[in-house]
């Protein structure tokens, strides 16, 4: 039993890594399910059981985290950033950003300063807005 859990966890992690890598591309559940070696229906359910949120939600947080970084570290305009991180419309981006971060992209940009030079993987993991309160 435990070996099966380990193999499932590792496969789900492999799929999550793929989302981290290709966050700006459309969410491709069939491709992710293939990486995780499970059916599509099984993938969403197992991902959620493993990481506490759906693949869709994880990808949203990954994209918003990228957007937060670009808002702080660059002068690119909000629309440009919206598409760069993978959102299909400014409306969805603004709504999702506000829902997750609690303020609009423009307000967020005004109030933040760029973080210190820590390895980007830590910044990525720790600046990702939480789903878990």
């Amino acid at each position: 039993m435990s070996r099966a859990v380990e193999e499932s966890n590792r496969a789900m992690l492999r799929a999550r890594d793929a989302m981290d890598r290709a966050y700006a591309e459309p969410l491709d559940i069939p491709a992710l399910a293939r990486i995780a070696l499970v059916s599509e229906a099984h993938f969403i359910r197992t991902f959620r059981a493993t990481f506490g949120e759906t693949p869709h939600r994880y990808l949203q947080r990954r994209r918003v985290e990228r957007a937060m970084a670009l808002l702080v570290e660059t002068d690119r305009d909000v629309t440009d950033i919206c598409y760069a991180v993978g959102f299909g419309s400014l409306g969805t981006f603004s709504r999702t950003f506000r829902q997750i971060v609690g303020e609009s992209p423009t307000d967020f940009r005004r109030q933040r300063v760029a973080p210190a030079n820590v390895p980007s993987c830590f910044t990525k993991a720790w600046t990702r807005p939480s789903s878990f309160g």
Binding site: S2, V5, E6, E7, N9, R10, M12, L13, R14, R16, D17, D20, R21, T50, F51, N117, P119, S120, C121
Partner: protein, 141 residues
């Protein structure tokens, strides 16, 4: 009071299988076996980067008697979902070339080489779930 410690000589990460770990860290990453000894109660397996035997990484398999079976199982579950925290940072003279080599060897890339304020770095994951970051660092200001 002055500190007298002068080096980080050994670090530890958990692995699910020491033979698979040896294959990955030595044959894929190009590290060297420092010590591989059956101590009876455990297999003491450490590796180091070539030319740097003073800094070893212990590849430890979680299990009894050090950990009870249920705890060892928890460790394995967290490790495989990438949540255990085992993390190695290595430096290189050429991040893009190292990345190319590792891709050719089928290593899982988590993050492509990217130039950051501190250097050019990329991320990989070992077969068990540990994260490794490899960076070509700029001189510190």
């Amino acid at each position: 009071m002055g500190m007298t410690m002068n080096a980080i000589s050994r670090s530890q990460i958990y692995v699910l299988d020491q033979d698979a770990a040896l294959d990955f860290y030595v044959n894929k990453l190009g590290m060297e076996v420092n010590t591989d000894q059956d101590l009876g109660f455990m297999r003491w397996l450490t590796v180091n980067l070539p030319g740097d035997p003073e800094r070893e990484i212990l590849l430890e398999k979680p299990g009894p008697p050090a950990l009870d079976p249920a705890t060892a199982e928890q460790v394995r579950e967290l490790l495989t979902k990438g949540a255990l925290g085992g993390y190695l940072f290595m430096t290189t003279d050429d991040a893009r070339k190292t990345h190319e080599d590792l891709v050719a060897k089928g290593v899982e890339i988590t993050d492509e080489p990217t130039e950051r304020p501190y250097g050019i770095d990329f991320g990989i994951r070992d077969p068990f779930g540990n994260k490794i970051r490899i960076g070509q660092m700029f001189p510190r200001a």
